[in-house]
């Protein structure tokens, strides 16, 4: 097991290198750079920036240098000193910008994953055990609606309802009075009160597929001979299901852990933008559209790391929960 983990960790290094190179390259693909975007933004307000001025700024930001020089400066600073560089747009070190948001993103990810699991577990089990019953159809239908409705639409509907009928905005993760307050029990409770809306919205999308997988897996197990045998021996039905088939059907829950973070960040950008959540998605979107390359690059980098760690974690958990899974390839001895 330890050997397995060590090998996986070693493989991560070239993967990370590839991720960093690719993300830095992609950020540079669109025409222009941060300064042209900046100049264009100023131009939109009819504040024209002189060409000489742009040239000097270009030099200051190092944007006039070739790709490999820029990349090297960025990556060597990260590796040697943990310095992610400076965000052009915010005029701040990147690291001071991303941690807060990464924390809230992680929190949102963990809570909505747990919520998705809970919903999917209950509905999936029910609809497998009571296959083709009215309840099966009903819950499956609900699940599919969740899958088919775009998340941002759901967010907008919820926002409209709370604006129209409760006269308050649902945006953000904190009430104004807690916005800048230090952490306290009150603030945590306030966060919880705001958190359920994005959690429900994000979970509705994820739950449907997990429900289906759960249902299908459980159905497979339910018709296995060992189930029939156990039943013939007079084992109580619910105890029987919970003891064997259910546990085997749980694999997809664990194996998706690794994907949760990247899906949340890329897939929920629109939800976060609509709901005004201070998570990573909107900041990443903003960084990309203003071509704030060190910020965007570092973000993609962090997400890459999180994804790799998530995948590793889910693999380890999976192997640990399900003894049938082997660490080594079968053929290798």
């Amino acid at each position: 097991m330890l050997k397995y983990i060590a090998r996986r960790l070693l493989v991560m290094i070239p993967t990370l290198f590839a991720i960093s190179l690719a993300s830095f390259f992609i950020i540079q693909l669109p025409p222009g750079d941060f300064l042209t975007t900046y100049a264009a933004g100023m131009g939109a307000q009819d504040n024209i920036i002189a060409r000489e001025q742009l040239a000097v700024l270009e030099e200051r930001y190092g944007l006039d240098e070739p790709f490999h020089v820029q990349y090297w400066r960025w990556i060597s600073n990260i590796v040697c000193c943990g310095d992610f560089g400076q965000s052009f747009e915010w005029n701040q070190p990147v690291s001071s910008l991303i941690w807060d948001r990464l924390t809230l993103t992680m929190l949102l990810a963990v809570v909505s994953t747990l919520f998705t699991w809970l919903v999917a577990f209950l509905i999936g089990t029910y609809s497998a055990v009571r296959q083709y019953s009215l309840g099966d159809y009903f819950w499956t239908f609900i699940g599919f609606i969740g899958l088919a409705t775009p998340n941002f639409l759901l967010a907008l509907v919820l926002m409209y309802i709370s604006f129209r009928y409760f006269g308050q905005s649902v945006g953000g993760l904190f009430s104004p009075e807690y916005q800048n307050a230090p952490w306290s029990l009150g603030k945590a409770w306030d966060l919880f009160q705001h958190l359920w809306i994005p959690v429900v919205i994000i979970a509705t999308a994820g739950a449907a597929s997990t429900i289906r997988i759960m249902r299908a897996n459980l159905l497979d197990e339910l018709h296995r001979p060992y189930t029939t045998t156990a039943r013939a021996k007079g084992m109580q039905e619910w105890r029987l299901i919970a003891k064997y088939p259910l546990r085997l059907a749980l694999n997809p829950f664990i194996s998706t852990v690794g994907w949760t973070i990247p899906t949340l960040v890329s897939g929920e950008i629109i939800v976060s933008v609509v709901l005004d959540l201070p998570t990573t998605g909107p900041l990443l979107l903003r960084a990309l559209s203003s071509q704030d390359m060190y910020l965007a690059g570092s973000f993609l980098m962090m997400l890459g790391v999180l994804t790799l760690i998530g995948t590793l974690l889910s693999d380890i958990l999976l192997a640990w929960l399900d003894p049938r899974i082997q660490y080594e390839k079968a053929g290798r001895r």
Binding site: T36, G43, A44, A50, W90, N91, D100, Q179, N180
Partner: protein
């Protein structure tokens, strides 16, 4: 596997997950110690704090009583500036809440909302950008040639740390910021330059003299403009320690400590009133929770502020200014309609107008109108110096441009795209001082026959397929490179124009692109055949001239002529014909003129030539914008300009706004 061990595994798994969450929380530096403690304290905004008969905010009076602050007389200058109130004398207290969705808009809170404090300010009325009013300076003497400006500064005025504000601070700003080799690009000294950097001299503590090589007739206006903010914002006594010319001892260590890459970065960071709470300012409010820490930026009252209301009460009335950075402009709209933003200068676009007005009662707010300083929704510029020789010949043909102008059904565009708001308009000044009916309305009449007549006269006959043939024997086709992410309306309007022009035999190809690509292609290289942009400078033709004559490379109707005006030796530059050259001479003369009335006269003459030249094809006047003010906020004028030249709402004196439930 036993039941026991499996339960253990599950609880372990759960523990692992929660540990992850905790770990993530612990990794975050900002969460544990966000102790700015600057909660919007709305209870305090009650009306027990009537300013009448008082002379300073109750909190400040208390601090004076406790000996934490010198008495008011010692804090105010000898002659504090008396500011007129819009409606009535206000009360102290309260929080002005605002929101922004763009980082760049949030950053300019300094010059727009809390600190429009120049030597001379634009007047609240802003009549054509002719006049400015004393502010930090009490008076100015100008010599007859317009080369020497001697400002008298307000005696006894202080920075927010209690240090005196002196002529030396201005000298520092000019010599060591605006014209410092390393800082210059960031500083943007365009209004301080007239034939080179000025010579600045501190005659005594309260007198500062600018001497220019060449006359600088628009200097006082330039001082009030957007780009000149830092002239009165750099406290020498504090900032010298971050400047390479003054600190040989430990600057490197300071840079190292800050984690920034150079002293330039450090200096810019330390001199940024949005980011550095230690920076002494002369603004009414000083930042206490800087930009980048949390979602809000919070400003609090400066006890040394140097203006009073007509009854002698120290301003500002409002305790606190809080700006929240939100992810999207839709959120601002929603918050404003909930009455959660006390004064937001621009909410929604023309399509939202009805919605915002309808909700006013429910949201307990009122709306104020924002008159745009630009004069056109969309001006079509055919680049008369485009690289293609044939196109160039066609575009330089005035009859061709007139024909195309008559072919456009402007009323339909206004009705369909701009919700019926606005009137047909060419490139022309909207300010009363310079309004010229003929210039504004010429060739705006929709008349296809007339259009065809002009196009025939231009010499481009139609072939049997109804296409007009250019001098090279090919059908005329114009590609318009436009930025499709600046606003939502240009694509719609251009599609209509495409239809109108097809009717008169001219093909229009729409080439939408991101505005950064547009900047590179059009503004930097001048490679475009045609483009569109709004028309700025409607209210201040003096300061924003590039649509009236090719004064910079941003004059999209003839980029190379603009280059020529800036620098005849520029590789892109081309010498313009007589008309534009005469305009350039007139503008140069304005710069040499000190007399305001003479300047106005010269500007009118310049605009008269624009009428003959007819460079660009305008569509319509822009719709008025809407600002939202909660009913607890007072003294906000019902009407103001929306501009960058006149950094809205700064010149309306935000210091006399007040909050009373």
């Amino acid at each position: 596997m036993t039941t026991l061990s499996s339960t253990n595994r599950w609880s372990l798994l759960l523990a692992l997950i929660s540990a992850c969450a905790l770990l993530a929380a612990a990794c975050s530096p900002g969460t544990g110690d966000d102790s700015a403690g600057a909660l919007p304290d709305e209870e305090e905004a009650g009306d027990d704090a009537i300013a009448e008969g008082q002379s300073q905010a109750p909190e400040l009076a208390e601090m004076v009583d406790n000996g934490e602050l010198p008495p008011l007389e010692e804090r105010l200058p000898d002659e504090p500036l008396v500011v007129d109130v819009v409606d009535r004398i206000g009360v102290y207290g309260g929080t002005w809440r605002r929101a922004e969705s763009e980082v760049t808009e949030l950053e300019v809170t300094e010059r727009r909302h809390i600190g429009y404090e120049r030597l001379f300010n634009w007047t609240p009325e802003w009549e054509g950008g002719k006049e400015t009013t004393p502010n930090v300076a009490t008076d100015v003497e100008v010599n007859d040639e317009g080369t020497e400006f001697t400002f008298s500064l307000r005696e006894g005025m202080r920075w927010s740390d209690g240090e005196p504000f002196t002529a030396d601070d201005i000298v520092f700003a000019v010599e060591d910021y605006y014209f410092n080799d390393d800082l210059r690009a960031e500083a943007d000294p365009r209004h301080l330059d007239s034939g080179g950097p000025p010579e600045v001299e501190a005659v005594d503590d309260h007198t500062v003299r600018f001497t220019f090589d060449q006359p600088h007739g628009l200097f006082l206006q330039g001082v009030a403009e957007w780009a000149t903010q830092k002239l009165t914002a750099l406290p020498r006594h504090y900032l010298e320690q971050f400047h390479a010319d003054y600190n040989d001892d430990n600057l490197d260590e300071l840079v190292e400590e800050s984690g920034l890459s150079s002293w330039v970065d450090l200096f810019l960071d330390k001199s940024d009133a949005m980011r550095n709470p230690d920076l002494p300012v002369i603004y009414a409010w000083q930042v206490t929770q800087p930009f980048g820490e949390g979602n809000d930026v919070v400003f609090e009252r400066n006890p040394y502020y140097w203006k009073v209301d007509p009854e002698g009460n120290q301003l500002p009335y409002i305790d606190e200014h809080v700006v929240r950075l939100v992810e999207e402009s839709e959120v601002i709209k929603l918050d404003a309609m909930n009455g959660e933003l006390d004064f937001q200068r621009s909410v929604g676009d023309p399509a939202d107008r009805a919605l915002i007005m309808e909700n006013a009662e429910q949201g307990d707010y009122r709306t104020v109108t924002m008159e745009p300083d630009h004069m056109n929704t969309m001006a079509i510029h055919l680049n008369q110096t485009t690289p293609d020789e044939t196109k160039r010949e066609i575009f330089q043909n005035k009859d061709f441009r007139i024909g195309l102008s008559h072919a456009i059904d402007r009323q339909e565009i206004i009705d369909v795209v701009y919700f019926g708001q606005g009137e047909p308009f060419q490139i022309a000044a909207t300010s009363e001082l310079f309004y010229n009916e003929e210039l504004a309305k010429q060739y705006t009449e929709y008349d296809v026959d007339l259009a065809n007549e002009y196009l025939d006269d231009a010499g481009y006959e139609m072939d049997e397929q109804g296409r007009r043939i250019g001098p090279d024997g090919e059908p005329i086709s114009i590609t318009v490179d436009y930025a499709n992410d600046v606003n939502n309306s240009w694509t719609d309007a251009l599609e209509l124009v495409e239809g109108y022009w097809e009717e008169v035999g001219v093909d229009l190809e729409l080439n939408g692109m991101s505005r950064s690509l547009h900047t590179e292609r059009v503004r930097e290289n001048g490679e475009h055949e045609a483009t569109v942009w709004t028309g700025s400078g409607g209210l201040v033709p003096f300061m924003q001239t590039h649509w009236y004559f090719p004064s910079t490379a941003a004059a999209d109707f003839a980029s190379a002529w603009g280059d020529w005006y800036l620098n005849p030796d520029d590789p892109n530059a081309e010498e313009p014909p007589e008309g534009p050259r005469r305009q350039m001479e007139l503008y140069d003369e304005i710069l040499r003129t000190v007399d305001e009335d003479k300047q106005v006269e010269l500007m009118r003459e310049l605009l008269e030539i624009l009428k003959d030249e007819f460079y660009s094809i305008g569509i319509s006047t822009p719709p008025e914008g809407l600002g939202v003010v909660t009913n607890r906020m007072h003294n906000v004028p019902d009407h103001m300009y929306n501009s960058t030249s006149w950094p809205t709402p700064g010149p309306t004196n935000t210091i006399q706004y007040f909050i009373q439930e």
